[in-house]
């Protein structure tokens, strides 16, 4: 079953005070998220990530299009009992304590009274806030509020969790904990949809990612598919202390480290490189496709989009 099915959601705001003019925040977006996967929604600031999440949460209304969440119409309020949402830079009722806040959200989500107390306790424990559960939120740091935000999103044990920039405001340890939590959620069979511009997090966590820029979907796919053999290069490593002339003739740039030599060559020349090493009686250690990082792929996509936009204007 598909966890999320976005069917051409589109959003145009009217901006300006006297003379309203349309500003497109999201062009028709079509994407699907499989049940049980961690899906990364990537893009620079102002790309349309938060708009998409707000549309899915029913906080803003689409100009056109529709969506289905967990097989149901996304406007159905009862669907929301099965989803959790962490907004970007969350802010909560600061007159409440962490315990009271979670209890309140538990009430609104329809968690039965008998079970609520246990869930609140265990969720606070899970996000590391059990010791400060009686403290009013006005005294919480930004990182602690982020943890409260994560707690309220998972409190009612939703099947699908939306996180908008979940690592924002967290220190390296906090980021690590959130990453672990997302992996745990996946292991529990839940679907995680999260937006971020921290690409290393997405690369480490996501099964699939989508890249959005200026309100338009630029790319979507499994992280491995997007990052493998992008440049059509392979890395060759062999035992030796110097590069033979035949390898240099292939245009390979060779680097010697101890008793191994490493060279990057074009994918089309890999057979020639192996033949050259055989002729020289050198021992091949590894031959692997060069994978670009998600960050490099992301930058390339964005630059390509900018160039295309520049040409058309």
């Amino acid at each position: 079953m598909l966890a999320i099915e976005i069917l051409g959601l589109e959003k145009t705001y009217l901006v300006g005070f006297w003379r309203k003019r349309p500003k497109c925040a999201l062009r028709p977006l079509r994407l699907t998220v499989e049940d049980g996967e961690i899906f990364g929604f990537l893009g620079p600031n102002g790309a349309g990530k938060t708009t998409t999440l707000k549309l899915l949460m029913g906080l803003v209304f689409p100009t056109a299009g529709s969506a289905r969440i967990l097989g149901q119409e996304w406007t159905d309020p009862e669907v929301k009992a099965q989803i959790g949402f962490l907004p970007e830079q969350p802010y909560f009722y600061d007159h409440l304590t962490a315990h009271e806040l979670l209890n309140y959200y538990g009430q609104l989500s329809g968690v039965p009274a008998k079970e609520r107390s246990r869930r609140v306790e265990s969720t606070l424990q899970r996000v590391g806030l059990r010791d400060v559960q009686g403290m009013q939120l006005r005294k919480f740091s930004k990182g602690m509020l982020q943890r409260v935000g994560i707690a309220q999103a998972i409190l009612h044990e939703p099947k699908l969790v939306f996180f908008d920039e979940p690592m924002s405001g967290l220190d390296p340890m906090g980021r690590r904990e959130v990453r672990d939590l997302m992996e745990q959620l996946k292991q529990e069979g839940k679907t995680v949809f999260f937006s971020t511009h921290i690409l290393s997090d997405a690369e480490a966590l996501c099964d699939r990612v989508a890249i959005i820029h200026k309100g338009e979907l630029r790319s979507i796919g499994a992280v491995e598919d997007l990052t493998s053999s992008v440049h059509g290069k392979v890395e060759v490593i062999w035992q030796g202390t110097q590069a033979p002339a035949s390898m240099k003739a292939l245009g390979a740039e060779c680097h010697v480290t101890g008793d191994t030599v490493r060279a990057i060559i074009s994918e089309t020349q890999q057979d020639a490189a192996i033949d050259a090493l055989r002729r020289e009686r050198l021992r091949l250690i590894a031959l692997t496709p060069v994978r670009t990082s998600l960050e490099a792929y992301f930058v390339e996509k964005l630059q390509h989009a900018e160039t295309t936009a520049g040409r058309t204007t």
Binding site: V60, K80, F85, P87, P90, Y91
Partner: protein, 258 residues
């Protein structure tokens, strides 16, 4: 559905209490005790009349100020601080949020009025040393004041659902002032001609008629209140508050929370 409204209302009430809104009761108590002592010293035979007038007017004004200043922020503050996002991303309908907020604020004002009423009766006892049957009429005046608060709460919520807190405060306060002179406005409409008459009549019936709720002076003079007026004011307040609340829901249901 009903449970969610109750939870939102109780959270609104708790927020008001923890934001020290009920601290106004201390100011009220000080004002009333000071006035009672002063009146006791300078008035001859009319101490009771002055205390009832002063006490009930203070209850009304304190409540109106609280209703406006909390009411205007109920929705806009939640949007501005984005606390609404984590509420509306749950199985909470937008109308449930508005109605819950209304009952939360109304509850705060009822509790506030209850404690201020105790203050009024205490001051009354201080100046007259006893209660008489006619003093029970003060309860009717207090009931009318609560009805007035319901209308103001709903209006503050209505304005809060589409405009900034500052503008909402201005609108709500203007309506309160104009509504306090609604009878005069209706009298003026009766005397006017042509377009002015049409305009004044429209305005006179559109603004809430708060002057019908003001029975403080007649109660201070121990004049009874007609049962018909109690029914009329009750139905009028419920109708007006429902209409204003429906308007707030209608606007809020279609609003983008940017």
């Amino acid at each position: 559905m009903r449970a969610r409204v109750v939870h939102i209302a109780s959270n609104t009430f708790r927020e008001a209490v923890r934001d020290r809104v009920l601290y106004n009761l201390i100011a009220f108590a000080l004002l009333l005790s000071g006035a009672a002592i002063l009146v006791g010293q300078i008035s001859i035979d009319i101490e009771k009349l002055v205390v009832i007038n002063l006490g009930l007017t203070a209850v009304s004004l304190f409540g109106v100020v609280i209703a406006i200043f909390i009411g205007i922020g109920l929705v806009s503050k939640e949007i501005e601080k984005r606390t609404l996002y984590t509420v509306l991303s749950r199985p909470v309908r937008r109308w449930e949020f508005i109605v819950g907020k209304f009952f939360g604020l109304a509850g705060t004002l009822v509790v506030n009025t209850f404690f201020m009423a105790i203050g009024v009766f205490a001051a009354l006892f201080y100046v007259s040393h006893k209660f008489v049957r006619a003093d029970a009429l003060i309860l009717v005046a207090l009931y009318f004041i609560v009805l007035e608060f319901l209308i103001i709460c709903s209006l503050a919520l209505l304005f809060s659902s589409f405009s900034s807190p500052l503008l909402s405060a201005v609108f709500a306060f203007c309506l309160f002032v104009i509504g306090s002179f609604a009878e005069d406005l209706r009298g003026f409409a009766g005397m006017a001609h042509g377009f002015t008459r049409w305009l004044a009549t429209g305005a006179a019936y559109l603004v809430p008629n708060f002057s019908a709720f003001n029975v403080i002076n007649s109660i201070a003079h121990e004049q009874p209140v007609a049962a018909q007026l109690i029914w009329h004011n009750t139905l009028y307040a419920l109708f007006y508050a429902t209409m204003a609340l429906s308007g707030a829901v209608l606007i809020f249901e279609n609003r983008d929370l940017k």
